[in-house]
């Protein structure tokens, strides 16, 4: 609400003192996530995720384009996000720039081959689908990464692209009103679980850091898992060093948390599909 240039000294001291006794400023447990609400629709590929007060909206869109010369049979998936002044007016410019969440989510989804780009081909060398995922940060109350990842993945799974039939070299793109649009082929659902390390040596750890905790953290660490309990990516950008023991403990916690988040995504998609089916009658 009010400008947050930096935490006041008593705020820093209090957060650390409380954490020392296993107490967090908003009353959560050390390993507890905030309430996660996932709303799909009304448009196809539109998902808004609410993680506590943090709100991220993901929009997926597709377009027919000419493929890149070196990959004639593959479509593309492009992410874009900007921590604009809506969610982060008071954060000074440096913090807002450095938080390039779209790059992290893009790496996570691309390296784990979550989206089958081969299936995006229409006419090899001529026409392919170019997917665009726009991430909009509506409210920043800490841990944008986890919320953005859930929003992006859920939006990709919720998205339906127009159906296409190809005869000879010609491709016919069917209007969604005539022929039901087709889902993308998504191999798996990578989910991010973020940790914040506080205290001089980073000995105090919490899951799903809140905005005030992020201001005081010495290091941030994100584990990306998929539904088969496999680690897709580990991400740590600077800050105090972490020992192997801490990383192992985080990945263990991440397994359980990722499972819960994946269930939440599946549930949200199921209700959205049910509502659509009901509306279609």
């Amino acid at each position: 609400m009010v400008a947050e240039i930096g935490p006041s000294s008593i705020e820093t001291a209090f957060i650390l003192e409380a954490l020392g006794k296993g107490v967090r400023v908003d009353g959560r447990g050390i390993y507890d996530y905030r309430g996660l609400r996932i709303a799909c629709g009304p448009a196809s590929g539109m998902v808004e995720v609410q993680l506590g007060q943090t709100r991220v909206l993901a929009r997926v869109a597709c377009e027919v384009t000419r493929p890149a010369a070196e990959r004639p049979t593959e479509g593309t998936v492009q992410f874009s996000s900007e921590l604009g002044t809506l969610a982060a007016f008071s954060l000074d410019r440096a913090v807002a720039q450095e938080v390039s969440i779209a790059r992290m989510i893009e790496r996570v989804i691309r390296q784990s081959r979550a989206v089958d780009t081969e299936a995006l081909c229409i006419v090899a060398g001529e026409q392919v689908w170019a997917l665009r995922v726009d991430l909009h940060f509506i409210d920043h109350a800490g841990n944008l990464v986890d919320a953005a990842c859930v929003a992006a993945v859920a939006a990709l799974r919720h998205f339906r692209r127009p159906d296409v039939t190809v005869d000879g070299g010609r491709a016919v793109i069917h209007d969604p009103r005539e022929r039901n649009p087709v889902p993308l082929s998504i191999h798996h659902t990578p989910v991010c679980v973020s940790f914040a390390f506080m205290g001089k040596a980073g000995e105090l750890v919490v899951v799903d850091p809140e905005a005030r905790e992020e201001l005081v953290q010495q290091a941030a660490f994100t584990v990306t898992m998929n539904a088969h309990k496999e680690v897709c990516a580990l991400n740590k950008a600077g800050g105090v060093a972490l020992g192997p023991e801490q990383i192992r403990r985080c990945t263990q916690i991440a397994v359980e948390k990722a499972g819960e988040i994946t269930d939440a995504i599946n549930a949200a998609l199921k209700t959205a599909a049910a509502e659509e089916a009901a509306a279609a009658q």
Binding site: V64, T65, R66, Q127
Partner: protein
């Protein structure tokens, strides 16, 4: 008199407005005369210079060939770009286009697109089409840039000549014929008329720079060849009543004939 104008510009203007006259001596509903020179730029495929009092706009249209959009294989492109640089007025700062310039470019693009038959720009379906880029540069700024820009663009489109083009089927290379080719048939010409609410209660036509400083609302009315309305665009929170807008539409019809005369010279 100069110092009074410089120190109290508002008060100075008000002295005239209260006596139902304007500093420039024009009637409230009187537009500045239009002088149009077509083909003023030799290197452009189509060009025109428009002078409206001390507001001067030059429009140059360059034509290039390119691949059509996958979704609309028979459509060519027409992009418009209004340039309001520090050259034409001190109010514009160097650097990227100002908001005013970007909004003018976008608005003119929305008005001109339905007026031009983009399929007539098609050279070979799904292969090669014409891409016209119209740059409308303001040389001198003295208010009401939008009207001058629209007229300049319409005049330049009427002046546009595209060379004969052949596509070599084997290599796909496009050769342009030497002599000037076909005149592009513009579907519907646009006739703009802008009114400004000055000092919150005087409605004047074709406000100049000084009057624009005191404008709390502006109204653009654009008519087409048949006198039908193409655009009514009222901005600013000053109130222009419903009947005044209807009167402005009538005044715009009068302005249309002035523009037609200037275009046909």
């Amino acid at each position: 008199m100069q110092t009074f104008e410089r120190i109290h510009p508002v008060e100075f203007q008000r002295r005239f407005l209260t006596q139902d006259t304007r500093l420039s001596g024009r009637e409230f509903s009187q537009f500045r005369p239009l002088h149009i020179v077509k083909g003023s730029i030799g290197t452009a495929q189509g060009s025109a210079t428009v002078r409206m009092g001390n507001t001067i706009m030059v429009c140059g249209i360059k034509a290039e060939v390119c691949e059509p959009d996958v979704k609309r294989p028979t459509h060519g492109y027409l992009t418009t770009n209004v340039e309001l640089s520090p050259m034409c007025s001190a109010r514009f700062r160097p650097g990227p286009p100002s908001d005013e310039a970007q909004v003018a470019s976008e608005h003119i693009h929305r008005l001109i697109t339905p007026s031009v038959d983009l399929t007539s720009l098609c050279i070979e379906e799904n292969k090669v089409v014409w891409a016209l880029s119209a740059d409308i540069v303001c040389i001198k700024y003295d208010g009401n840039v939008l009207d001058a820009a629209i007229v300049a663009l319409v005049a330049a489109l009427e002046n546009l000549k595209l060379p004969e083009v052949k596509v070599d089927p084997a290599t796909g290379v496009v050769e342009a014929g030497a002599e000037d080719g076909v005149q592009l048939g513009i579907v519907r010409r646009l006739f703009p008329a802008t009114f400004a609410l000055v000092d919150d209660n005087y409605l004047v036509a074709d406000a100049d720079d000084a009057e624009e400083q005191m404008t709390s609302a502006s109204l653009l009315v654009v008519l087409d060849d048949q006198g039908q309305m193409v655009n009514v665009w009222k901005r600013g929170t000053g109130i222009i009543s419903r009947d005044t807008i209807t009167e402005c539409v009538a005044a715009a019809a009068a302005r249309k004939s002035e523009i037609e005369r200037a275009l046909s010279t």
